[in-house]
């Protein structure tokens, strides 16, 4: 069985997908037709971008306002030593197109906030959040819930990672964590360090969720949060259920637009 929408080169490139019953030419065509916005081209964004590019996701947006620092290279594997000082969106985009010319890359060299998120989210089929701060994470959650865009969340701390998938109509990140910690409560990577390979695993899980979503195949993390501990080499699952009181996706949501929330501090909904 062949699908006429795949060229001979594509049938070769994606042959290990195409021969799988669970993916096949149709699943591969779905991937080629898909668009994903990757928020952050850092530790998590690197493996996400690499595997989405390799899988042939047709259009990939890269959002990041940082430049590459040498201290990033211990874990941010789409950037190289010669990229130090360059915008991350540039080196990440070159990595993606170098790996797979099928992929169209949109570079968004900006900081995602309440003003910039809405148009971006609406332009993609799915968002992958590999950002590095709570305000961006709450902005992504709230914008995706309001817009009805699915997103994959992943976050890391030292040896631990968390990943979950939001699907429209299901529970959201605020159902689990209504507010972020007070600023200063939780040290960041620069202060506390992070095992370099940790985002490789967690970002790999995030990319897996995105690829499964488009094929489609398998069971998503839409009702649970996967918690990975690289030190113990254990995983836990925390059930994620819809909170009827959730201000964004609950029975009587109070957040109708991003103007209703101040995305600083704890990102609380007052």
């Amino acid at each position: 069985m062949t699908d006429l929408s795949l060229s001979p080169t594509q049938l070769d490139r994606y042959s290990r997908h195409v021969i799988m019953d669970e993916v096949g030419p149709d699943g591969q065509a779905n991937l080629l037709d898909a668009s994903v916005c990757c928020v952050g081209a850092g530790g998590l964004g690197s493996p996400v971008l690499a595997y989405l590019a390799a899988a042939g996701v047709g259009r990939v947006g890269i959002v990041d306002d940082d430049t590459v620092e040498r201290s990033n290279l211990q874990r941010q594997v789409v950037h190289g030593d010669a990229d130090v000082g360059r915008p991350k969106v540039d080196s990440a985009a070159e990595f993606v197109t170098g790996l797979n010319p099928d992929v169209t890359v949109d570079r968004h060299e900006l900081r995602l906030d309440a003003d910039t998120v809405t148009d971006l989210v609406a332009d993609y089929d799915l968002v992958v959040d590999g950002s590095d701060n709570f305000p961006t994470r709450y902005v992504v959650n709230d914008a995706c819930v309001i817009d009805g865009t699915p997103f994959v969340h992943g976050a890391i701390y030292r040896f631990e990672g968390q990943a979950t998938t939001y699907l429209p109509g299901g529970p959201c990140y605020r159902c689990v964590f209504p507010e972020a910690p007070e600023p200063g409560t939780v040290p960041d990577c620069a202060t506390t360090g992070v095992l370099g390979v940790l985002p490789g695993v967690v970002g790999g899980i995030m990319a897996t969720e995105a690829v499964k979503h488009f094929v489609p195949v398998g069971d998503p993390l839409d009702d649970r949060m996967l918690v990975y501990d690289a030190a113990d080499m254990t995983t836990d699952e925390v059930p994620v259920a819809k909170n009827p009181d959730c201000p964004v996706c609950g029975d009587q949501p109070t957040v109708r637009s991003l103007d209703d929330v101040s995305y600083s501090g704890t990102c609380a909904v007052e």
């Binding site: 998590l44 994470r137 992943g154 910690p181 939780v186 040290p187 990577c189 925390v238 059930p239 259920a241």
Partner: protein
């Protein structure tokens, strides 16, 4: 029963697993938390917050208290939930690194 601690909470305690023994009748999640905080007072300021709504029994809004994996505030009676000897409790906060 056993407490499992995650992320910065485990880091503050210096361990990610704490066994507690409760002698009284019908022990609750709150009793188990008191025992944990007595042993690791450094957790107090991270987990407890003044002025939190009564619905969260004074627990910080970013800390999930899990009993056998499920949130005690949305699926049970909060800190008043009774716990059995073999229960696994957890303090589970969000992380943001990327």
């Amino acid at each position: 029963m056993q407490w499992k601690l995650f992320a910065d909470i485990a880091e503050r305690a210096g361990t990610d697993a704490v066994a507690v023994r409760l002698d009284g009748d019908d022990p609750t999640v709150g009793d188990a938390l008191d025992a944990l905080l007595e042993t690791y007072p450094a957790l107090r300021e991270r987990v407890l917050v003044d002025g939190e709504p009564e619905s969260r029994d004074g627990i910080a809004p970013d800390v999930n208290v899990l009993l056998d994996g499920a949130d005690v505030f949305t699926t049970a009676d909060g800190l008043a939930t009774e716990v059995s000897e073999g229960a696994e409790l957890a303090l589970f906060p969000p992380v943001s690194g990327g």
